[in-house]
């Protein structure tokens, strides 16, 4: 399949004139999907906006309250802490997978025996059912019986309390997130590396460049647009992270790993405070868009995603 991210950027711009006559009629193909998208995707967006300016409990009356929910959010310590935790979790869960993913992509771009098998094994964490892997991680984190603390102590390191202490819970969740999503970064960057021209490398080898210099001054600048795309994907997914955090800690211990998504779930389906939760969704969505756009701006030209 030749259509990679950069392929999107270089799609033919001008259609043959004769086909343009059909353009209007081809719209019919998209109508059924457009109706579905309108019902399950666009309607919820607008309904969320509508709910966010109402006091809306599941079993109670609905009142229009204007921007009260939003004002309340700004003063809600629990929400503000959730935002801070989300940013902390996201920053680490973007940087680590991107760095390791670039390293992995450089390795998997070279030919070696069993490359196909190694690559398949490497992408398994990303494909596996998140709930299932989260359960196994939970068992591995067990402070007394868990295999991780056994491994740590057997090489002479002190045991960790993993997800059972407020100090280590977010780094531990970042570790799981990194383990799970580095493969996606690898795949995107690998797609970039495999589309690179070979000439600069030949020239560099003749000039006596080291492997590191070739990586630093040829590979990295050329695949940077792909790295940015991978970074944006990571920002979006890390901000939205739900399954693994929900299963492993459910926001605990206390509220030490309560990210926006955890608080949102609790507000909507624990307290059934739907109006307030909707306001939270709107702010959350704005935050995701904002952070994605900031990163996209760093290399806007290459990205027509």
């Amino acid at each position: 399949m030749s259509t990679t991210l950069s392929g999107m950027a270089t799609r033919p711009l001008a259609a043959p004139r004769r086909r343009r006559n059909y353009a209007r009629r081809y719209w019919m193909f998209a109508v059924p999907a457009a109706l579905v998208v309108a019902a399950v995707i666009i309607f919820p967006w607008f309904f969320t906006l509508f709910m966010s300016v109402h006091e809306w409990k599941v079993s109670g009356n609905v009142y229009y309250v204007g921007l009260t929910n939003y004002m309340h959010l700004l003063r809600d310590q629990r929400f503000l802490w959730a935002v801070a935790r989300t940013l902390y979790f996201t920053t680490a869960s973007v940087i680590l997978p991107v760095v390791i993913g670039i390293w992995a992509a450089v390795c998997f771009a070279r030919k070696f025996r069993l490359r196909g098998a190694a690559r398949t094994l490497f992408i398994l964490p990303m494909m596996a059912t998140p709930v299932a892997i989260a359960l196994v991680w939970t068992m591995m984190f067990h402070p007394q019986l868990g295999v991780l603390n056994y491994l740590l102590t057997s090489v002479g390191l002190p045991p960790s309390s993993w997800v059972y202490s407020a100090d280590t819970v977010i780094p531990t969740l970042v570790m799981v997130e990194t383990w799970q999503w580095t493969p996606l970064v690898m795949l995107i960057v690998l797609g970039g590396i495999s589309s690179l021209p070979i000439d600069p490398y030949e020239a560099a080898v003749i000039d006596g460049a080291t492997a590191w210099q070739m990586f630093r001054y040829i590979t990295l600048p050329l695949v940077w647009p792909f790295v940015v795309v991978a970074g944006v994907m990571r920002i979006i997914d890390a901000l939205k992270a739900f399954d693994t955090i929900f299963v492993i800690t459910n926001g605990g211990p206390g509220t030490a790993s309560e990210t926006i998504n955890m608080l949102l779930y609790q507000t909507a389906f624990g307290y059934y405070d739907l109006g307030y939760a909707s306001a939270m969704v709107v702010v959350f969505f704005a935050l995701i868009m904002l952070l994605s756009l900031i990163l996209l701006r760093t290399r806007q030209q290459e990205l027509t995603l």
Partner: protein, 298 residues
Amino acid sequence: MEVRGERDTKPAITRELAHPVGAHRYRVRRWINDAGLYASVLILVSPSILFFLWMLSLSLKTEADNIAYPPVFIPHPPTLANIIDVFAKNDFLSYTINSVIVSFSATGLALLFGVPAGYGIAKTQATKAAVLILVARVTPGLSYLIPLFLMFQWLGMLGTLGPLIITHLVITVPIVVWVMIGYFEGLPVALEESALVDGATIWQAFRYVAVPLARPGIMVATILSFIFSWNNFIFGVVLAGRTTRTLPVAVYNVLTFEQISWGPLAAAALVVTAPVLVLTLFMQKEIVAGLTAGGVKA
């Protein structure tokens, strides 16, 4: 997507030609380089291998071995009791059926709507429509759930599989549309145009020319859509009733509502994720192609 990785071999030849005297030293350096590569790959792959082996080990051991300290790594003798337990005690069979119904329906409907849509968008080059698909990907799952939950409550649909299938469309339709746009854009237009010249309607050109040509793309879209629907947890945990749980929700409930025993829990996790792992092992190429075509992920 075939990865061209020969880059490092060609310059090697060039180098040996350029410095024939240093060939021996070069070979040593190359050996060190290869050793570094294999070490890197081993470091990169081992967390995944060890994790899944440990998962397998947990689900094949007796309970006594599972809580032993130091841990028992290789089950001896391996037992299938945990896996049998999962189906015997937890009604996993009906949850499996639920999962199959939901994932197949959501994928089938997504293909029905998404393949023509991908075609239409590719033909009209409506990149704005593609942006909408991306924004849908950015939106957190919970933000669909609150309004849809209310809607299903009003319609009295909670407690059936309907809401689950419908909400799974939120994931599967964008995946299918996105993959198919890319695929249809890559197809040569000559065949369809000659069909049109011969008097076929655009529908016939789509149905009998474009769709057969796009079969590999449809395959990719189907696999990805199925996997992400199968793996989905967040919609199920809110919308599923007692009898309509999908497998990820059921396995989560094993964790919360029963006394935790590791063997059956790991076995349940393995049962849930096994179909996806098997698909990944056999369809690795298609999955990689689909995921890199725009970094689609639900």
